[in-house]
């Protein structure tokens, strides 16, 4: 059970991208869980501090791209005195192997975790073949 063990500390992972970003500043890679059921693929990503309006999710050519911006206006008038982590926008992309029904993708943002449910396209669902 995960609940009984002590939660390990991890630094945020900085994004090292092949394609350079056009804006200065560091991006972070959200920690993600991906699991598949018979009818959908689910991606859960930790993006603390991102509000719904600052999220963008796009699926193009079987590549799922997620970006989340941080409203750093909240830090106005705040002077750091002691810090352990940095803040910045999040970005991550996945190449999907299953065919996804784009129209039915749903997203939920709760407590800083973005959960994307990507229903598989009908033809990609496993089909039972009757043996004659």
């Amino acid at each position: 059970m995960t609940e009984t063990q002590e939660l390990a500390v991890r630094d945020k992972k900085e994004l090292v991208s092949k394609e350079e970003k056009t804006v200065p500043g560091r991006f972070y890679v959200p920690y993600a869980d991906i699991y598949e059921t018979d009818d959908a693929l689910t991606v859960a990503m930790e993006m603390a501090g991102v509000e719904k309006k600052d999220l963008s999710v796009a699926l193009e050519d079987d590549v799922l791209r997620v970006e989340g911006r941080i409203d750093f206006g909240k830090y106005e008038g705040m002077e750091p005195v002691y810090t352990e982590y940095n803040v910045g926008p999040y970005a991550r992309a996945f190449a999907l192997s299953s065919k996804i029904d784009q129209e039915k993708i749903s997203a939920q943002l709760e407590d800083g975790v973005l959960t994307l449910t990507l229903p598989k396209a009908k033809q990609a669902e496993p089909r039972r073949i009757a043996i004659g």
């Binding site: 009984t4 063990q5 939660l7 500390v9 008038g77 705040m78 750091p80 407590d111 800083g112």
Partner: protein, 138 residues
């Protein structure tokens, strides 16, 4: 004047780097462990502790103040449906309990905590008796 928001981001990131693990904060006597990572800011006379703990539910989070010590404790659970096949598993779950002691006196009754989008902000008003007084120069 047009403010470039990305300049603001860059300078915030630089400011946060400059105070990385400064000796301003000491580890509290109770509660070990380093989760969640936190940042401390000065805002006017007061202080704000900000911590990221995405995936923790508000009901699973405890914030306690005693004297100058703040304790953040809770549980983060990461769950999957039973029949799912896992492709990638990076998120960690578990218990956490962390206490830190501030080098300034705070007004314990005035402490407020806010939980939003996986970010905890604890507002710590500085005790009246601890505020710097300006001395008029005669």
């Amino acid at each position: 004047m047009i403010m470039d928001p990305f300049d603001a981001l860059s300078s915030l990131q630089q400011a946060l780097d400059a105070f990385r693990a400064s000796d301003w904060l000491t580890t509290g006597p109770s509660g070990g462990g380093g989760y969640p990572l936190l940042n401390v800011f000065r805002k006017g006379d007061d202080f704000v502790i900000v911590a990221e703990a995405p995936g923790v539910r508000k009901s699973d989070l405890t914030v306690e103040v005693k004297g100058r010590t703040i304790r953040l404790a809770g549980t983060k659970s990461v769950a999957y449906p039973e029949k799912a096949s896992l492709h990638r598993r990076e998120r960690l779950g578990g218990r956490f309990d962390r206490a830190v002691t501030l080098p300034v006196e705070i007004d314990a009754d005035g402490v407020k905590a806010e939980w939003r989008d996986g970010v905890l902000a604890v507002f710590l008003p500085r005790a009246e008796r601890d505020k710097p007084k300006s001395i008029p120069v005669a």
